[in-house]
Subunit: 338 residues, 2 copies
């Protein structure tokens, strides 16, 4: 257990990535009680420097021995790296908060959104998994609705920004866009096809059932976080030429009748949710407004005209913040408050 310290020694594995940098930014913003701070990455990044609270910190190589004397390790370097190094961190009595998909569906590993299921962390966590970005912003909305009305089925279509694929994808979108606007050839590297001025109905690998891994994350992680396998999710995940923030169109069916106004009132009262819903005055959540914000923005709340016990919502959140780095650091805050 790591409670009752004044300061906590924190390591970030994958510190140079888009999410790693955002973690650093958020630790500073929220004044997390940090003692030592270790920034870890692969050998390629060793010697690079990142800033924290005005001080330069040199990147060290991520090794099995990196976690000795550390209290909390934030992992965001892909599932392979987590599987390789998280066990060493655990052996060093360092609690791992893992942003990769490596441990999310493992039975004994809590999968946590602090506003939704903080108690699932338990008394003596070793590894805590951070859910997928598209799941987090959805499940924050679903939780109170499920509690009050019992969810039956959710049909969700996503509009996901390229930052979810890291800095390389941000560069790829910008470079392709520049090339197309000046009639030059584009290069594709991160995505199988041009992402500029295009939509790709393909995020992560395709599985045998015709869904992508990203889609099945939304199905399986939602059930685990809500602690209820009866909640049905039917997702289509789509990459769109947006830099930051994911948008999602949700059609939510409850067991019995629900109305848009009930849902609006319910969601208004939730921590972490901001309602932006005044369509007559062109107020609705937008990806460009969600960028660099901590909240999940909900709007276009309206009765489903095709089914009495359903509503539609439009949900936007910064995928690097609430969808990744912020959620991980909120988990760390829960740990030190235990």
């Amino acid at each position: 257990m790591i409670k009752n310290k004044e300061k906590y020694h924190v390591a970030i594995a994958g510190a140079t990535g888009a999410v790693g940098r955002k973690m650093l930014e958020i630790l500073e913003e929220r004044d997390f009680p940090i003692g030592k701070l270790k920034l870890l990455a692969s050998s390629r990044s060793v010697g690079k420097v990142l800033e924290f609270k005005g001080k330069e910190i040199v990147i060290e190589e991520l090794r099995e021995s990196s976690f000795v004397d550390m209290d909390i390790a934030l992992f965001s370097a892909g599932a392979g790296t987590s599987l390789q190094f998280a066990p060493s961190a655990v052996k060093s009595n360092c609690v791992v908060i893992d942003n990769s998909s490596a441990y999310r569906m493992q039975k004994d590993i809590p999968l946590v959104v602090p506003e939704v299921n903080p108690a699932s962390i338990g008394e003596n966590p070793t590894i805590i998994a951070n859910p997928n970005c598209s799941t987090i912003q959805m499940v924050i909305v679903l939780k109170p609705i499920h509690e009050k009305f019992k969810l039956k089925r959710v049909v969700v279509s996503t509009y996901q920004s390229v930052s979810g694929s890291g800095q390389k994808a941000i560069d790829e979108l910008k470079n392709q866009t520049k090339a197309l606007l000046s009639d030059k050839e584009i290069k594709t590297n991160v995505y199988p096809y041009q992402i500029a001025f295009n939509c790709l109905p393909h995020i992560d690998k395709f599985l045998d059932n015709g869904y992508t891994k990203e889609e099945m994350k939304m199905v399986n992680e939602t059930k685990k976080i809500l602690g209820d396998d009866s909640v049905q999710v039917c997702p289509t995940t789509v990459r769109v030429p947006v830099l930051y923030s994911h948008s999602e169109a949700l059609n939510i069916e409850a067991e019995g009748p629900i109305t848009a106004s009930e849902i609006k009132n319910l969601l208004k009262a939730q921590p972490g949710i901001v309602i932006v819903d005044d369509p007559q005055n062109n107020k609705y959540p937008l990806a460009i407004h969600g960028e660099n914000k901590n909240e999940v923005f909900v709007g276009r709340i309206r009765d489903d005209i095709s089914l009495e016990r359903a509503v539609n919502l439009w949900v936007v959140s910064d995928n690097l913040r609430k969808g990744a780095a912020l959620n991980a650091i909120q988990i760390a805050e829960l740990l030190v408050a235990l």
Copy 2:
């Protein structure tokens, strides 16, 4: 009636717009049996020149007297213009094919997708309405499914390109994108917010029920075209930073059990539909591949994992072609073949 001529005199009202120009292109491509061709527009465009089969045609002002001696008028200049001038065309015994929303829901006016309900044109049409772009590509897919399995409910999220808002919107997306990539201020004119690197859950005006007019077009036009008010549609229409072609994520519920493979086999056999569905080899419909094509492309056909009697589809089509100009000219082809 206008049948049994060798050549037909055709007028295009709104010839200088994005759809008008596409109509001209398609009339030439398909070698429509044209006698006289009149290109009509507002007084601002008078004297401008457009090319047809290598000849320059001077734009004339659209007037009530423009349709004397003409056989077919293709209108694509907005609902106001259609309401003002279509009656004059009808008085001149010129059949109107109207791409605007003006007459679509009028009871005695046929609303036609040639692959779906050609018979609804009837014996002596005066005005024939061309459906909304997002409806056309959806209803072409729904029709055979409804016939064979009886549709119950469709939940649809759209990813609509800016060309649906005309040439000004294409320019606005390009200009905003250029400005943002060089850290300059952007201008918004066509859309209420930045469309570059953003998604707008707002197409056309908001109505009192919280849906947009675009969304309600998908609901009401679908029922009229399928001739069945029992088909329920629940839409979310979204503008995305794509230049040409609309994409749609459809969740289709039938009255009884259906499977993805049944639907795939059924759709394969339909005119106007091309199946692009081999996800393991990254084959699925894409907006950039739909551009300037005539067909409706369908892929990501998979069983709904949340409901036995439902499937998911991803549908792409060129909104200026099958969604507008091509469909109108296919209606004209039906007229001259009557």
